[in-house]
Amino acid sequence: MSATTPMTMIQALRSAMDVMLERDPNVVIFGEDVGYFGGVFRCTEGLQKKYGNSRVFDAPISESGIVGVAVGMGAYGLRPVAEIQFADYVYPATDQIVSEAARLRYRSAGEFIAPLTIRMPCGGGIYGGQTHSQSPEAFFTHVCGLRTVMPSNPYDAKGLLIAAIENDDPVIFLEPKRLYNGPFDGHHDRPVTAWSKHPLGAVPEGYYTVPLESASVYRPGNALTVLTYGTMVHVAAAAAQESGIDAEIIDLRSLWPLDLDTIVNSVQKTGRCVVVHEATRTSGFGAELVSLVQEHCFYHLEAPIVRVAGWDTPYPHAQEWAYFPGPARVAAGFRKALEN
């Protein structure tokens, strides 16, 4: 593996796209404002200049069109990497994702495939209000044929994005925007820490992958198992540290299909489980995790599995930090899982 450099998540994502544009002439990148300007979060900055505007270009403001043309490009043989400016704006593309990208291989019995990667920033914590804060992963995990991925750090972001681009299935690639510039642990009133201070902010410069369907144990522990992903990995870590509870934190990385073995092994060891996500609770992806754990580890469970999640309300602007499941709420969830 090549030498590592400290990178933010934005730089790591950009590096992944750079590497893939270089390696594979079939990779193309487009989306709203991604071309000349380089994206509202600057993830594609400089790529148009480097690879030209038929490889990296701006798209009309039409999420359905962005995904729709990506499906056609995929069928042609390209590997489109499309950006949706905010995950909150993916809904117009639902039909092209659910009815088309996800089912093209199946319905054509393998004649046509849709090897797309659809990147989108998700999650709150930037005072973005109800339309710049959502985490819609549950929708995607319900759709067979899709892969859903969410990194929690620069190293994984780059390795997973390369793996996603190379994968022949359509991949929904969710990027927790609050992590773009630092490992946010939920303490919004404290100074921002930098990725350069985090071990997973050291990123190889060249090509490497983090395999899909593999979870990582972010923090080993014995008291209980935490199943989480994205920003909440860091919040859970803060909760563990602050509560002194020896939580084993599993960063799922790939939400679906997922790495069930790592989950089952951990819960069978700890006997207790807390599921944490930022998305609204009801029918969130946490419900699937709870179901899997109780199906596979029922006789090892010593207490009910606890869910800590966003409330079942839109993400409010002014009350953002009462909505966001911060370390205090996560730690309360830990304590609940340790009752009895």
């Binding site: 039409s62 043309v69 092209q96 291989r105 319905r107 393998g110 046509f112």
Partner: protein, 412 residues
């Protein structure tokens, strides 16, 4: 202004309902030969007139007249006639098979054969068609083996789509026929993306996409126009205006007082309105559009004016919502009869040859049906194994699907 009158909702109605006679004057037809033929390099906005006119080549006597009359050898025309007739005979036979419950569902293209067959003749074989469920004419023109198609219809053990799709939702990659979606209009932006990909790669292949009048109301139609215009994608948009969308008249999709071709003009796309039952006009307009696309001159939208002569599908009964004899009165006639008349008028065809061809094709279709049936039908449960249900969801089967397949096998 004085106090205005109360507002009222306008709900368009067709000019004929069961028990009445449809007044087809709403079609605004031009005579054959009347519409001009602009150069390939025309500016899109300059085709405005053609989006409201009607490009026609064949006159009442079957003569080809005007600037759009194509220079097509009789050989090709006979090939087209054969493909149209084959389409019609195939449809008729499959309808019977559906009534016999060999096939679970069917959609015919009666009366609209020209818009796919003649278009196919104007494309290269490596161009990709993004069809709806009513372009079986493309498959006939491109010579796809009937047995393969019928196995799909029978959902049997040789169904190339493994029983996964409703009958008629074919996918034939090697014939340049994209997998048909059950969701209307989704193929339109996909065709644009495919065409953009060809342009990105510096290839020479173009795409051609199909949509019904009713489905133009779906957002994806407009999205496709926008992207095609912005990137000048080498794509053709075919709007098959067969006047009906199940029970709703084309005015419910927005055909009243305007045309579907006009949508293209608004989006900056060269657009034509063409007699879809005039084989020569369909060929000529398709060729014009294909040449534009292939020469980096951008997309073209063509509205094909035709008539859905049959029921929407085998689940539909059109006598419930429109006059039963509409097709007989439809002013643009029958595409097969019109091409036949043209060929006979030119001494290139005869009633006898036609009768012989008819017989030959009927035998061919019947033989294909018989062969396909030998591989079973859905009704007799000769279908792909249930285990295949779990394949192709992903490239590699993930553990959860392996578990589910095992669970299914355990309860079978």
């Amino acid at each position: 202004m004085t106090q205005p009158a109360p507002l009222r909702l306008h709900v368009p109605e067709p000019t004929g309902r069961p028990g009445q006679h449809t007044d087809f004057s709403y079609l605004h037809l031009s005579p054959a030969g009347a519409a001009r033929r602009p150069p390939l390099t025309t500016q899109p906005a300059e085709t405005s007139d053609l989006a409201f006119a009607l490009v026609r080549v064949l006159d009442e006597q079957g003569h080809a007249i005007g600037p759009w009359a194509p220079d097509l050898p009789a050989e090709r025309l006979r090939f087209g006639l054969r493909a149209m007739l084959k389409t019609r005979i195939f449809d008729a036979r499959m309808l019977v098979a559906q009534r016999q419950k060999k096939i679970s569902f069917y959609i015919q293209s009666l009366g609209e054969e020209a818009v796919s067959v003649a278009h196919a003749l104007a494309l290269d074989d490596s161009d990709m068609c993004f069809p709806t469920y009513r372009q079986q004419g493309l498959l006939m023109a491109r010579g796809v083996p009937l047995v393969d198609l019928i196995c799909q219809l029978l959902s049997n053990e040789r169904d190339p789509l493994k029983g996964r799709q409703l009958p008629v939702l074919y996918s034939v990659r090697e014939a340049g026929f994209f997998s048909i979606s059950g969701n209307l209009a989704t193929q339109m932006p996909q065709a644009v993306g495919w065409a953009m990909a060809s342009a990105i790669k510096g290839d020479t292949k173009i795409a051609s996409a199909w949509i019904g009048d009713g489905s133009t109301a779906e957002a994806d139609f407009h999205t496709a126009l926008t992207f095609a215009h912005v990137y000048q994608a080498p794509v053709i948009f075919n709007v098959v205006n067969n006047q009906w969308a199940i029970s709703t008249f084309q005015a419910i999709a927005g055909g009243e007082g305007t045309t579907f071709a006009a949508r293209g003009i608004g989006a900056g796309i060269a657009s034509l309105r063409v007699d879809g039952n005039d084989f020569l006009a369909v060929y000529a307009a398709s060729r014009w559009a294909a040449d534009r696309a292939r020469n980096n001159l951008g997309p073209t939208l063509i509205e094909w004016v035709t008539y859905r002569a049959g029921a929407h599908s085998t689940s539909d009964d059109p006598t419930k919502y429109r006059p039963a004899d509409d097709w007989a009165k439809f002013p643009l006639g029958d595409p097969i009869l019109r091409l036949k008349q043209h060929l006979i008028a030119g001494g290139e065809w005869s009633e006898d040859a036609h009768a012989a061809l008819q017989q030959e094709l009927e035998a061919e279709v019947l033989a294909a049906l018989k062969e396909a049936e030998s591989f079973g039908t859905l009704a007799d449960s000769h279908v792909h194994s249930v285990a295949t249900m779990f394949e192709d969801v992903y490239q590699d089967m993930p553990p959860h699907l392996l578990r589910q397949r095992a669970e299914l096998e355990a309860t079978q």
